[in-house]
C-alpha cells in the first residue's frame, strides 16, 4: 500500500517536473529582459502595448470557439445517429476521421483552396474559412473523444426509454444525451479549442490579412527574443484561461442545476451521475 502510494507520488512528481520545468524556464527567461540581470516585466509591458495584439487574440478566440461549436454541432448528432441506426458505418467514419492526420496541413490547404474558391467571398476572406478547416484538422481527436463518450453509455436503451416516455429528439438531447455525454463533449471541446488557438501554418497561409495570435506572434519575433517569449507566456495563460472557462462552464452549470433540482419545485436540468473526467489541456497550445 505504502509502496503503491510512493510510486504514485514519484510518478506524479516526475510528470509535474516534465511539464513545469520548461514553463518555469520560459517565464524566468521572459523576466530577464531587464537590465543588469534584474527580473522585470519590461518584455510583458512591451508585448501588451504591441499594436494588433488584442485583435489577433480576439480572432483566435472567435475561430477556436467557432470551430468548437461547428465540431459539436456536426459530430454529436452524426455519431449518435451512426451508432443508433448505421452501426456498420462506424468503422468507415472512424477511418475517415483519421484522414487529416495522414495529410500534411500544407497539402490540405492546397487541396481545399480549390474547393473553397466556390464559396462566397465573405467566407474566404474572413476567419470563417479557418473555422471550416480547423473542424477538419481536429477531426481525429474530436471524433474519438465524442465516440468514446457515446460508447460508454447504453445509447440504444436510453434513447428508446426516452422516446417511449414521450420525449422528442430535442428533449432527449437536452435532458438525457448531452448530460450523459458531457465528458466526451468537454474533451472534444478542449481539443478543438487548443488546436485552433495554437495553429499557425493554415492561418498564415489562408488568412494573412487578419492574423490570428500565432501568426501575430511569429511577426513580432524579429522585434526581440524576450518580447516573443513574453507573448508566448501570455498566449499560454490565455489558452489555459479559456480551457478553464470551458471546464468551469461545464461543471458549474451542473452544480447550479443540481442545487436547483434539490430545491422543491425546481424546473431545471439535474445533477449528473459523476464528476466529469476531462483531460488536461495540451501544453503546446501556442506555437
Amino acid at each position: 500500500m505504502i509502496r503503491n502510494r510512493t510510486f504514485r507520488y514519484v510518478t506524479l512528481g516526475l510528470i509535474g517536473l516534465y511539464v513545469i520545468v520548461p514553463m518555469y524556464a520560459t517565464v524566468q527567461f521572459s523576466l530577464e529582459g531587464g537590465y543588469h540581470g534584474r527580473l522585470s516585466f519590461a518584455a510583458y509591458s512591451q508585448g501588451l502595448s504591441q499594436p494588433g495584439l488584442g485583435s489577433s487574440i480576439i480572432t483566435s478566440i472567435e475561430v477556436s470557439f467557432g470551430a468548437m461549436a461547428l465540431t459539436l454541432a456536426l459530430l454529436v448528432p452524426t455519431i449518435i445517429f451512426v451508432n443508433l441506426r448505421l452501426p456498420r458505418w462506424r468503422s468507415v467514419l472512424e477511418a475517415l476521421s483519421l484522414l487529416p492526420l495522414g495529410v500534411p496541413p500544407i497539402v490540405i490547404i492546397v487541396g481545399v483552396l480549390g474547393v473553397y474558391n466556390s464559396l462566397p467571398n465573405w467566407i474566404i476572406v474572413s476567419p470563417v474559412i479557418l473555422v471550416l478547416l480547423y473542424v477538419v484538422l481536429a477531426l481525429p481527436y474530436s471524433y474519438r473523444a465524442i465516440d468514446a463518450g457515446v460508447r460508454s453509455i447504453d445509447l440504444h436503451t436510453l434513447v428508446e426509454a426516452g422516446r417511449s416516455m414521450g420525449a422528442g429528439w430535442g428533449k432527449l438531447f437536452a435532458r438525457v444525451l448531452f448530460p450523459n455525454l458531457r465528458s466526451g463533449i468537454l474533451a472534444a471541446s478542449f481539443l478543438v479549442v487548443a488546436l485552433s488557438l495554437g495553429e499557425y501554418a493554415v492561418a498564415s497561409l489562408l488568412l494573412p490579412t487578419q492574423p490570428t495570435f500565432p501568426v501575430f506572434l511569429a511577426g513580432v519575433e524579429t522585434s526581440g527574443v524576450y518580447l516573443s517569449v513574453a507573448l508566448s507566456v501570455i498566449a499560454l495563460a490565455v489558452t489555459w484561461g479559456l480551457l478553464a472557462a470551458i471546464s468551469v462552464f461545464g461543471s458549474g452549470r451542473r452544480r447550479s442545476s443540481a442545487a436547483a433540482t434539490a430545491a422543491a419545485g425546481a424546473d431545471g436540468p439535474d445533477e449528473p451521475l459523476a464528476e466529469t473526467a476531462v483531460p488536461s489541456p495540451p501544453a503546446q497550445a501556442v506555437a
Binding site: 422516446r163 414521450g166 438525457v176 450523459n180 433540482t261
Partner: protein
Amino acid sequence: MSTTEADMTEATRAVSTTQQVQRRAASAGLELVQCRRSFDKVHALNGFSISIAPGEFVALLGPSGCGKTTALRAVAGLEQLDEGEVLVGGENVTRLPAHRRNLGMVFQAYSLFPNMNALDNAAFGLEVRKVPAAQRRARAGELLDLVGLTGLAERFPHELSGGQQQRVALARALCAEPRLLLLDEPLSALDAKVRGQLRDEIRRIQLEFGITTLFVTHDQEEALSMSDRVGVMRTGRLEQLGTPAEVYSHPATDFVAQFVGSVSRLPGEIVGPGTVSVLGSRLPVPNVASAELPSGSAVDVLVRPESIRIRPSADGPAEVVRASFFGASVRVVAVLPGGVEVASTLSAADSYTLPAGARADIELLDDVLFVVGRQPAP
C-alpha cells in the same frame, strides 16, 4: 397455497373493485392485426395478430427468436412493421412515432437515466408533458412509494440495486398515466428471489391501476403466474392465446404442449373413434384433429408429469434413471423398454423409495394432454 400466492391473493383482494373498474375504463385495449416484420430473410413476425381487452394482463411467451420482443417493440413504435396494423384503444397508431403513443415501457436492460435521481427519472414522462414541477414531483413521489421505494427518491441509479432500478423504471413507466404498459422481460436480469418479489409487485400494481399490460417473457412460470391470458408464440405467429389454465391443460398444438410445462412423450395407438391406448390404458383423445385418426394409427401421447405415477415394483417394466430434487417435490425419470423416458413429479417422501436403478411400474392417473400422429420413419 404458498406464502407468495397467499400474499398475492390478499393484495389482489385489497384493491377495490370499483377503483379497478374506473381505472380500467381509462385504460385502452390493444389489437395487432396481421403484423409482418422481417430482418433480412428472417420473419420475426409472420402474420401475427392478437387482441387484448382494456385492463387485461397478457403475456407473450415463446422461445428465443419467436418474435415476441419484435411484437412488443412494434406496439411501442420502436420497430416499424412491414405490414399490418397496431390499434390502441381503437386508434390506428401504426405510423405514429414512439414518443406520440403515450405508452409506458419497462426494458430488460436497466434503462434509468444515469444523470437523474430516482424521483426525476420517475417524473420524466410528466416533465416531457410540461406538467408543473411541484405537481410532477408529488406524483413521482407517490409512484415511488407505490413501488416500495419510499426514502430512496434522491438516489441515483448507480446507488440502487437491480431490483430497485426496475422498480423505478416501473414507476417511471406508470407516472404519466399511459394507455398501455409494456414489459420487455423486466425481470430477467434479476436474481431468483428479487424476481419473485417483483413479479408479485408488478401484478399487484397492474391490478391497482387496471392498466392494459403486454408482458414479454421466455419464463413460463412468470407468464402463467402473472397473466390473465398467455399467448404462446412460435416463428412469428401466435400458436395459442388463452388463460394460463387453458394453455397448460388444453394446449392447441403439440408445440404448446411441449413448450409450456414439461411432458413425457409416450408411444400409443388409436384403438377406436377418439380413443387412444397408452401404457395399457384406453383414454379419450383430447385434441380434435388426432381424434379423427383411423384405428391402428401409431401416435405419440403427451402426458404431464403430474398425470403419471411411478411406483416401486420389483418386476416392473421401467427402470428409474435419475431423480431431481426441487424442494417440495422431486422429479423422477424412468426409462421404459425401448428407451422411452417417462417423468413424474412426486413428493419428496415418495421419491425415497425410487433410487436410481430401481425397478418401477408406470401408471397413468389422468387424461392425456395431447395426441399427435407419428410420422412414419423415412
